[in-house]
C-alpha cells in the first residue's frame, strides 16, 4: 500500500482513534452532582410584601380633585418579606428578601436548595410579609421522608393556604 491509500488507511486510523476518544470523553467520567444517598429540598416562591398604606387626612382629601379622593395613600415600594426555615429545629434559613424591580415594586423571591442525607425531617417555615406585624403572618410544619435522589419543592401561595409541597 502506498501513496494516498496509505494516507487514507493511516489517517483514517488516527482520525478514528480521535473520534473514539472524543466519544468516550463525551460521556465519561461521570460527574457526581449530588453526594450519594442525598436528596434535595428546594424552597422556592415569589411573593410581594404587603403594601404600606396610611389614611389621608381630611385636609389632604380636600386638596385633591373630586375624582381622585381615595381614602388611603400607598407606597409603590414593597417592604421586604422575611422568611425562616428550620430543619429538625435547626435554623437553616433566616432571610429578609428585598423586593425586586428597579423601584422595588416587584415581588420578593427566594430559590434555595438544601442538600440533605436521605431520611425523615421535620421542616418548620415562617413568613412575615408586613413589617408592621408582630410575629409571623404565616407558618407551616411538614414532615418529609427524603429518599436518595429525591427532589422536594416547597412553595408558598397565600391563595392556596400558605406554604405547600408540590
Amino acid at each position: 500500500m502506498t501513496g494516498r491509500w496509505l494516507h487514507i488507511a493511516l489517517g483514517g486510523l488516527v482520525s478514528l482513534a480521535l473520534v473514539l476518544a472524543a466519544a468516550a470523553l463525551s460521556a465519561w467520567p461521570s460527574w457526581q452532582s449530588l453526594p450519594a444517598g442525598h436528596g434535595v429540598i428546594r424552597l422556592s416562591f415569589t411573593h410581594s410584601g404587603a403594601r404600606t398604606c396610611r389614611d389621608r387626612s381630611q385636609a389632604e382629601l380636600d386638596a385633591l380633585p373630586r375624582n381622585m379622593r381615595q381614602a388611603q395613600i400607598c407606597e409603590r415600594r414593597r417592604p421586604p418579606v422575611h422568611v425562616e426555615m428550620d430543619v429538625d429545629g435547626r435554623a437553616v434559613l433566616a432571610r429578609s428578601l428585598p423586593p425586586t424591580g428597579l423601584s422595588g415594586t416587584g415581588p420578593s423571591r427566594v430559590y434555595q436548595n438544601f442538600e440533605l442525607p436521605a431520611g425523615t425531617y421535620d421542616i418548620a417555615l415562617r413568613l412575615r410579609d408586613d413589617p408592621a406585624l408582630v410575629g409571623y403572618g404565616d407558618a407551616a410544619e411538614f414532615r418529609i421522608d427524603l429518599a436518595p435522589g429525591q427532589s422536594v419543592a416547597i412553595d408558598y401561595d397565600p391563595g392556596s393556604g400558605g406554604f405547600f409541597i408540590h
Binding site: G11, V19, A23, L34
Partner: protein, 528 residues
C-alpha cells in the same frame, strides 16, 4: 512569553511532522483546523436538520422521540444523532487547538488582529449552541443542564420570576419552555455561522473546505465512531428527582461542575475576564508590523497580480489616477498589510536585471526594497567559495530562519520575484539556488508556498523562466524543527552541482555592476 511561544511552536511542528507521515502534508489535520471547523459545522447543521424531522417538541414528547430515533431507527436517525454530537465535540477540540496554534504561530497580532478578535464570539456561540442542544433531549443530563443553567442565570436577577422555578417540580414545567429552547437551538447556531463568516472577512480566499481526502477521512471516522460508540441516552428527566451521577459531555459541558462548586459571582466575573483578556491578547503586547507595502505608480500597469496574490486582502484595484494609459492602479491598506512581501514577488516590474535608472518596482516593501534584496544577494554570494556554491533564500519562519553564510532570510519565500533566481544563476552569483520555505503543510503567510510552487511550475504569473535550469534550483519545505534536514539537502545539492558541467549562459557580474547595485540599494533607503 516569547520563549513559551517558541517552545509551543516547535511542539506543534514536531506533532505535525508525525501527522505528515500519516496523512501527507496536504491532508495534515493540524494544518487544516479552520477548514475542519467549518466542515464539522456543516456536518452538525445537516444532521441537525435531519434530526429535527423526527424530533417532537414537548415535555413528554421530546424524550420519547429521541428514544425512538436512537433505538428503533438507530441505523439512520440514531447515527445522525451520534454524528451531531461527536462532530460538535470535535468542533470544540478543533476550535481550541486552532486558537492555541494561531497564537503559537504568532498570526494573531499586528494587522492580523481581526481574525483573532472575531474568533472570540465564535467560542461563545459554539458553547451556547451545545448547551441548548443538550437541553432538548430532556433526559437526566438535560435536566441537570437545565437546572444548573437556570440557577446560574437567576443570579443575574434579570428575570422577574426565577426561571429555575420552572424546573423545581414536574407541575411547573410547560411545553412553552421547549418551544423556546428549540427556537434558541436554531437561532444560536445561525449566529454562530454569521460569526464564523465575519471571522474570515480579512483573509483572501479563506480555506473553508478541507481537502477532499481529509474530509472523507474525517466523515468516515465520525460515522465509524458513531456506529461503534453510539451517543448514550440517559433515563428520562424527572423533576421529582435530582440526577445524581451524570455522564457529562466534557467538551461542551465541562465547566458545569465548576459552576456548581464556585460562587456565581466568580463564574460571571470569570466569563468577563476570560473574554476581555482573550479578545485583548493581540494588544498584550501589541506587535507592530514593518511598514506596509508601497505602490510606485510609474512602474505599475494595473495588472492586478498583486491584488490576486496578497493573502490578507490588503490591496485593492482602483481607477487610474495619474493619467497613465492604463485602466487601473492599486492601493494598499496599511492597516491590513503584514509586510510579507508577496506582492513584490508577484509584480512584473520586479526585475533585478535592470541597470538603467533606479531599481524600483510597482509595489515594494519600504523596509526591504527589491534594490536592497539584489544588493544582499550580491553580498551573500561573495561569501560563497569553492565548487557547488549554493545561495539560499529562506523563509524566516522555517528551518532556515536563522542567519547563516550564503543565506538570505525573508518574511516569505513568495517575496522572491522568480527573475531574481534567473539573475543569480545567469550572472554567476552561485551555481545553484536553494529556496527554503516554511513547512509545506501550512505557510506562515497562508499562500506563499502555493504561489511559489505555481510560479516555479509555470502555472501562475510571474513564471520562472523556462531557460532557468531546474536542476540548479532546489526547493525545500521544512519547519523550524528541521534545520538538520535543510542542511543535509543543501549539502547534497551542492555536491550534485559540483559534479555538473558549468552552467553555459553565465555572463559573470562585474565589480562595477556590483558597486552600482549596492549604491542603488543605499540610494533607495536614503530616499525613504
Amino acid at each position: 512569553m516569547g520563549a513559551a511561544r517558541a517552545a509551543l511552536r516547535r511542539g506543534f511542528d514536531r506533532a505535525e511532522r508525525g501527522l505528515d507521515i500519516a496523512f501527507g502534508p496536504d491532508w495534515n489535520p493540524l494544518a487544516q483546523l479552520g477548514p475542519l471547523g467549518w466542515f464539522l459545522f456543516w456536518i452538525v447543521a445537516l444532521t441537525g436538520v435531519y434530526l429535527f424531522i423526527f424530533f417532537d417538541t414537548g415535555v413528554e414528547a421530546a424524550y420519547g422521540s429521541v428514544e425512538w430515533l436512537s433505538t428503533d431507527h438507530w441505523w439512520h436517525a440514531g447515527v445522525a444523532r451520534s454524528l451531531h454530537r461527536y462532530a460538535s465535540d470535535l468542533m470544540v477540540l478543533v476550535m481550541f487547538t486552532h486558537l492555541v496554534r494561531e497564537w503559537a504561530m504568532d498570526r494573531y497580532r499586528g494587522a492580523r488582529w481581526f481574525s483573532w478578535f472575531t474568533g472570540v464570539p465564535v467560542i461563545w456561540f459554539v458553547y451556547l449552541s451545545g448547551i441548548t442542544g443538550y437541553w432538548l433531549v430532556w433526559d437526566k443530563l438535560a435536566q441537570y443542564v437545565a437546572v444548573t443553567t437556570t440557577e446560574l442565570l437567576d443570579t443575574l436577577g434579570l428575570f422577574g420570576e426565577p426561571i429555575a422555578r420552572n424546573f423545581a417540580s414536574p407541575q411547573m414545567l410547560s411545553d412553552r419552555f421547549f418551544t423556546l429552547m428549540v427556537f434558541l437551538h436554531i437561532a444560536i447556531p445561525l449566529l454562530l455561522l454569521l460569526a464564523m463568516w465575519i471571522h474570515i472577512q480579512r483573509i483572501s480566499e479563506p480555506r473553508t473546505r478541507p481537502p477532499r481526502g481529509l474530509a472523507v477521512i474525517t466523515l468516515g471516522a465520525l460515522v465509524a465512531g458513531s456506529l461503534i460508540l453510539p451517543a448514550p441516552l440517559l433515563g428520562q428527566a424527572d423533576l421529582a428527582q435530582v440526577p445524581q451521577s451524570i455522564a457529562l459531555d466534557w467538551f461542551l459541558l465541562g465547566l458545569y461542575p465548576v459552576i456548581e462548586s464556585v460562587p456565581a459571582g466568580v463564574i460571571w466575573a470569570g466569563c468577563v475576564v476570560f473574554t476581555v483578556l482573550l479578545a485583548g491578547l493581540p494588544w498584550l503586547p501589541h506587535r507592530a508590523d514593518p511598514p506596509a507595502a508601497e505602490v510606485f505608480l510609474d512602474h505599475c500597469n494595473g495588472c492586478a497580480r498583486c491584488v490576486a496574490d496578497c493573502p490578507y486582502a490588503a490591496i485593492t484595484l482602483e481607477p487610474r489616477s495619474d493619467g497613465a494609459p492604463f485602466r487601473f492602479e492599486v492601493a494598499v491598506d496599511p492597516a491590513r498589510c503584514v509586510a510579507c512581501g508577496i506582492c513584490m514577488g508577484s509584480c512584473p516590474s520586479s526585475t533585478p536585471f535592470r541597470r538603467s535608472g533606479d531599481l524600483i518596482t510597482g509595489i515594494d516593501l519600504p523596509q526591504r526594497p527589491l534594490a536592497q534584496l539584489r544588493a544582499e544577494v550580491i553580498d551573500a554570494a561573495e561569501a560563497l567559495a569553492g565548487p557547488g556554491r549554493v545561495l539560499t533564500l529562506a523563509c524566516g519562519h522555517g528551518a532556515g530562519g536563522a542567519e547563516a553564510r550564503g543565506r538570505i532570510v525573508l518574511p516569505c519565500v513568495a517575496m522572491l520575484p522568480p527573475s531574481l533566481i534567473d539573475f543569480i544563476l545567469s550572472r554567476g552569483l552561485a551555481e545553484g539556488v536553494c529556496v527554503a520555505g516554511c513547512a509545506e503543510r501550512d505557510c506562515q503567510n497562508r499562500v506563499g508556498a502555493a504561489w511559489t510552487k505555481a510560479r516555479f511550475g509555470r502555472s501562475r504569473d510571474p513564471y520562472l523562466r523556462a531557460r532557468v535550469p531546474r536542476e540548479r534550483v532546489l526547493t525545500v519545505w521544512a519547519g523550524p524543527t528541521e534545520p538538520g534536514r535543510l542542511e543535509a539537502e543543501v549539502s547534497a545539492f551542492s555536491a550534485r552541482l559540483a559534479d555538473m558541467a558549468p552552467y553555459g549562459p553565465v555572463r559573470q557580474i562585474g565589480a562595477e555592476e556590483k558597486q552600482e547595485a549596492r549604491a542603488k540599494a543605499i540610494g533607495r533607503s536614503a530616499a525613504e
